[in-house]
């Protein structure tokens, strides 16, 4: 009898299980090991995963902006060294300067350190290293925790999804922008949720929290007005992915929490225009394949760069000639692919040809007309073929001579 009572008690215990836990992150000094651990656990909690003993917390360090800039400079691409002179810019940089997508007067140092102006921290997968950039001044522990949370989301992504796997099959700049936007977007999404929780609990002063609705409503205006910067290519490719990726994943989070976020990674959106568009439906329609005939390289030149840049860069270009800014955004939303080719010769002189395909002839005409009317029209030639706008520029006057435009078709 006693044994049966015990067995009943045993089963009763099983039925009465239920424990509730509450992750209690507080603003803290992110340079301290215990603070880093707390933020890591808050990230695990927000991402719906459990802490596991098999993944050590990434190594962390703090550097000054100058140190970060020096590291970026050491990694920056450069062209061949000129005897007795500084390195020349690489062909891509030269071509982007010809199209004013990069500031023509930008030095190599300024280009390399562009990210240092914006970045608060970064994660290096190969070394599993989180670096926080110390800009001096007053310490904002709430802001620092948010920044660290963002980078630890990347560490968790690397653990769960592995960056090598995510990048498999990525063979264009456009596709890379999508992957980067998803990675950064997840960082923004969860840092926002963690920050909102801190503020709701009154641990970060009276500043109202940024909630999920704001993430979902985010546009490029939330972080950047590209027209303020002289190198819109860098600004667009470095920053647009944050709010747009967060918004894209935010819809997944709304539907199914962290599972919805992970599902939004697969299948990957085709092209970054998909991330730029808020309604999606119009841009989910498949487009007919298009192509422009491959031209031979001009005499004395060889093709050195092939790229497909995607909507973010189309938008960056449109901001140069279309005003006000929403007109540039609307124009870029109609982007449907592009081919970018750079030719260079032995003297490192560069020619660039760029074909921009749009979803409508109207958008191609609009951009072509604006280009012709802008000051850039003097140095950038263009040609319109239906819904394809071709532009080209050269570092040498009359370098194109009577070179024909490529023939494009769908």
């Amino acid at each position: 009898m006693m044994r049966h009572v015990a067995l009943a008690l045993t089963l009763g215990m099983l039925a009465a299980i239920g424990c509730a836990g509450e992750n209690t992150l507080e603003p803290c000094d992110v340079r301290r090991s215990d603070c880093q651990q707390q933020v890591f656990l808050a990230v695990a909690d927000a991402r719906g995963s459990s802490w596991d003993p098999w993944f050590p917390l990434p190594t962390m360090r703090v550097v000054t902006e100058e140190q970060y800039c020096a590291e970026l400079l050491a990694q920056a691409p450069s062209g061949p060294a000129t005897p007795g002179g500084p390195n020349q810019p690489d062909d891509l940089t030269s071509a982007l300067k010809l199209l004013h997508l990069l500031d023509p007067n930008e030095t190599r140092e300024e280009g390399a350190c562009h990210n240092a102006v914006f970045a608060a921290a970064y994660y290096v997968p190969a070394r599993q290293l989180v670096t926080v950039i110390d800009r001096g001044g007053e310490t904002d522990q709430c802001g620092d925790v948010r920044t660290l949370a963002h980078e630890l989301v990347h560490a968790a992504q690397d653990r769960d999804l592995h960056f090598k796997t995510l990048n498999r099959g990525v063979d264009s700049f456009d596709e890379q922008q999508v992957v980067d936007a998803l990675l950064e977007g997840e960082g923004v999404l969860y840092e926002t949720l963690i920050d909102a929780k801190l503020r709701e609990q009154g641990r970060c002063g009276a500043t109202p929290p940024i909630d999920l609705a704001q993430v979902l409503g985010a546009t490029r205006d939330n972080v950047v007005d590209l027209t303020r910067f002289p190198s819109p290519f860098r600004t667009a490719t470095a920053l647009l992915g944050y709010p747009l990726g967060a918004r894209y994943l935010g819809y997944g989070y709304e539907a199914a929490g962290s599972l919805g976020v992970r599902r939004a990674f697969e299948p990957r959106p085709e092209g970054d225009v998909r991330l730029m568009n808020e309604q999606h439906s119009e841009y989910d329609r498949p487009l007919p394949a298009w192509s422009c005939a491959t031209l031979n390289a001009p005499e004395g030149y060889r093709a050195s760069v092939f790229a497909s840049f995607g909507g973010f860069v189309a938008y960056a270009f449109a901001t140069l000639v279309l005003t006000p800014e929403p007109a540039a955004w609307d124009n870029a939303l109609a982007s449907a692919g592009d081919d970018f080719v750079v030719y260079s010769n032995a003297a490192h002189e560069v020619l660039v040809e760029w074909s921009l395909h749009f979803r409508s002839e109207q958008r191609a005409e609009e951009l072509g007309r604006a280009l012709a009317e802008s000051p850039l029209g003097a140095s950038i030639e263009h040609s319109l073929q239906g819904d394809v706008l071709q532009v080209r520029a050269s570092s040498q006057p009359h370098a194109f001579g009577d070179r024909a435009w490529a023939s494009c078709s769908e």
Partner: protein, 294 residues
């Protein structure tokens, strides 16, 4: 984010026990007259099993993780024997507005050599040395891969990281363990379980490193009228974690029958990362486990 964590470890499945029990009854009789119906080797088998159920929920979805564990030990000569422990994990994520995402996979089975001290009513010592077979591989696709990691991690975390190497994905481990018990009198038994292990990663994809583990759990157990209750503090050290020590406190209530026993347990992780203090994840659990022996 609010979260509920529940852990159940159901012991050996009732049906399995019912099937096994008659064999055990025969084994009891065989000490005087060997049974014709059951082979001797079967009569010496010792089996144990658990079935864990962990859950967590937030406003958007609920996650369930089943974590069964089975084990067999076969003593063959002078107290030496062989055996294995094999853990499994099954996870299902149930969102409010999308389809369920499910995944199931084995952990790495630990193949072991065991030693039991000669029968002694007062003191007993069991030792083992084992090597895990790397059978726990994570899926390649991003959705199931993350769910699998969480499934393995929750299975180990809900047990206070005890024997965490049984659930470690894409690694193999070498483990050494000992279990000692001393019956002080008719009503009081002292127990102490300890183990150490080292694991290495075999995956080119996972960025995990290997780990070193050390674990210790003393227990004080009281007996009366066929029942036993016990208190079991537990400490697990995992290196090279930033916060390497996980402390938890378990309690159990059990009942023993002639050939099998069943225990109900409750455990709470106490300190970070899984415990209730600081920014820990607040993981607690209760479970039922069962053991069948000749």
């Amino acid at each position: 984010m609010s979260r509920t964590v529940t852990v159940l470890r159901l012991g050996a499945l009732a049906g399995w026990l019912c099937v096994t029990q008659p064999v055990r009854a025969d084994a009891g009789a065989s000490t005087e007259a060997p049974s014709q119906s059951a082979p001797i080797w079967l009569e010496k088998l010792q089996a144990h099993a658990e079935l864990g159920l962990s859950g967590r929920a937030d406003a958007k979805s609920r996650l369930w993780v089943l974590s069964p564990l089975i084990g067999l030990d076969y003593p063959f000569s002078h107290g030496f024997g062989i055996g294995f422990d094999w853990a499994f994990a099954l996870a299902a994520e149930v969102p409010a507005h999308q389809n369920v995402q499910a995944w199931a996979a084995p952990g790495g089975p630990l193949l072991k050599v065991t030693y039991d001290s000669p029968d002694n009513l007062q003191h007993q010592l069991k030792l083992y040395a084992g090597l895990s077979v790397p059978a726990a591989w994570l899926p390649r696709d991003t959705v199931r891969r993350a769910l699998a990691r969480t499934g393995y991690a929750m299975a180990a975390g809900s047990r206070g990281l005890w024997n965490a190497w049984l659930w470690v994905p894409e690694q193999m481990a070498l483990a050494l363990g000992a279990a000692w018990q001393s019956r002080l009198n008719e009503h009081v038994t002292l127990r102490c379980d300890a183990a150490a292990a080292g694991s290495v990663s075999l995956s080119w994809l996972t960025s995990d490193a290997g780990a070193l583990y050390a674990q210790l759990a003393p227990a004080l157990e009281l007996h009366a009228a066929g029942l036993h209750v016990g208190l079991r503090p537990q400490a697990v050290l995992v290196a090279p974690q930033r916060d390497p020590l996980q402390i938890s406190l378990g309690a159990y209530l059990g009942v023993a029958f002639e050939h099998w026993s069943i225990d109900a347990n409750a455990l709470c992780n106490l300190d970070e990362p899984l415990g209730w203090t600081g920014s820990g994840l607040g993981v607690c659990g209760t479970w039922l486990s069962a053991e069948v022996s000749p």
